[in-house]
């Protein structure tokens, strides 16, 4: 995945790239029935999906900057849900803490109208492997 391309799942959910912040793409999603869990709020899984997409995008952008062409596979994700996801636009941005030879570690945050009040905080680890020819 290129940092500027979103996969079918992300597009179907209505995610989009909403610019970059300090080199990391910001993923945005408007609230919609497709994203709703308990009535009137974002589904935790939908928020998780946005966090993951922000992680992929941040890591892809970092690897592009380094000029490294590798396959990236998610190893694991751990999400803390901090506040209810209100029925309004939601943003997420990842920060690559380390991109080594085999593993990359990314921290991600999601927020809504007030960036200082995050909705969810998350880390993800990725396995990096040589691209198949």
């Amino acid at each position: 995945m290129k940092s500027t391309e979103l996969p079918p799942y992300a597009r179907a959910m209505g995610m989009e790239l909403a610019g970059t912040d300090d080199g990391s793409p910001v993923i945005a999603i408007d609230f919609s029935p497709r994203a709703m869990g308990r009535p009137g709020f974002f589904h935790g899984g939908a928020i998780g999906g946005v966090l993951e997409m922000a992680a992929f995008a941040a890591l892809s952008a970092e690897l592009e900057r380094q000029g490294v062409a590798v396959r990236i596979k998610p190893i694991n994700i751990s999400t803390e849900y901090l506040r209810a996801g209100l029925p309004e636009r939601l943003y997420a941005r990842g920060e690559v803490v380390r991109a080594g030879r085999r593993v990359a570690n990314v921290r991600i945050e999601a927020w809504q109208s007030d960036r200082t009040r995050p909705v969810a905080s998350c880390w993800m680890n990725f396995l990096l492997s040589p691209k198949k020819p």
Partner: protein, 162 residues
């Protein structure tokens, strides 16, 4: 008959007031719409403290268009729902709760075209927290695609729905 003065019954009302918790009924009514409906979650089976939900592979749920491998987002959603419902299955009634944290290990990529099944259980409930774990697989539970551990926080009903 509905009293014309009272607000229309929401799908949730029948579960708030129900004597027990019926996971099949919940899936049919509460997972038919919204995000769970989009993913296409279906009830499969349940026991005393566990429940199984699943969804079918679909092109618009794909995360890697080159291989057709599912995005992990729908798998998070399925495990979130299944673990959440395992709490109500264990305590025998619906009770408002929110996800405090959820960790998922992706043990391998899901096979393109195959349905995903999540089997989740609530292994402990305390006054304010419920502890859950779950496995997602695509046909063989001994060869899972993901493993989950999470905690739900039990909350007051007033803040749960809008």
């Amino acid at each position: 008959m509905n009293d014309p003065q009272s607000p229309p019954e929401s799908p949730l009302d029948r579960f708030i007031n129900a004597a027990g918790f019926n996971p099949r009924d919940w899936t049919a009514h509460m997972n038919a719409n919204g995000h769970s409906g989009f993913i296409g979650m279906q009830y499969r089976d349940h026991g005393d403290i566990w429940i199984e939900l699943g969804f079918d592979w679909r092109e618009d749920l794909v995360g890697d268009p080159d291989t057709g491998v599912l995005a992990s987002g729908p798998i998070i959603s399925l495990l979130d729902n299944a673990t959440s419902m395992s709490v109500w299955t264990r305590v025998g009634r619906f009770s408002p709760q929110v996800t405090l944290d959820l960790r998922i290990d992706y043990t391998r990529a899901a096979t393109p075209g195959k349905s995903i099944v999540a089997r989740a259980e609530c292994y402990q409930v305390r006054r304010s927290m419920a502890f859950v774990r779950g496995i997602a697989h695509d046909g063989d539970i001994t060869d899972p695609v993901a493993h989950a551990a999470g905690i739900f926080m039990l909350v007051d009903g007033q803040e749960w729905v809008k």
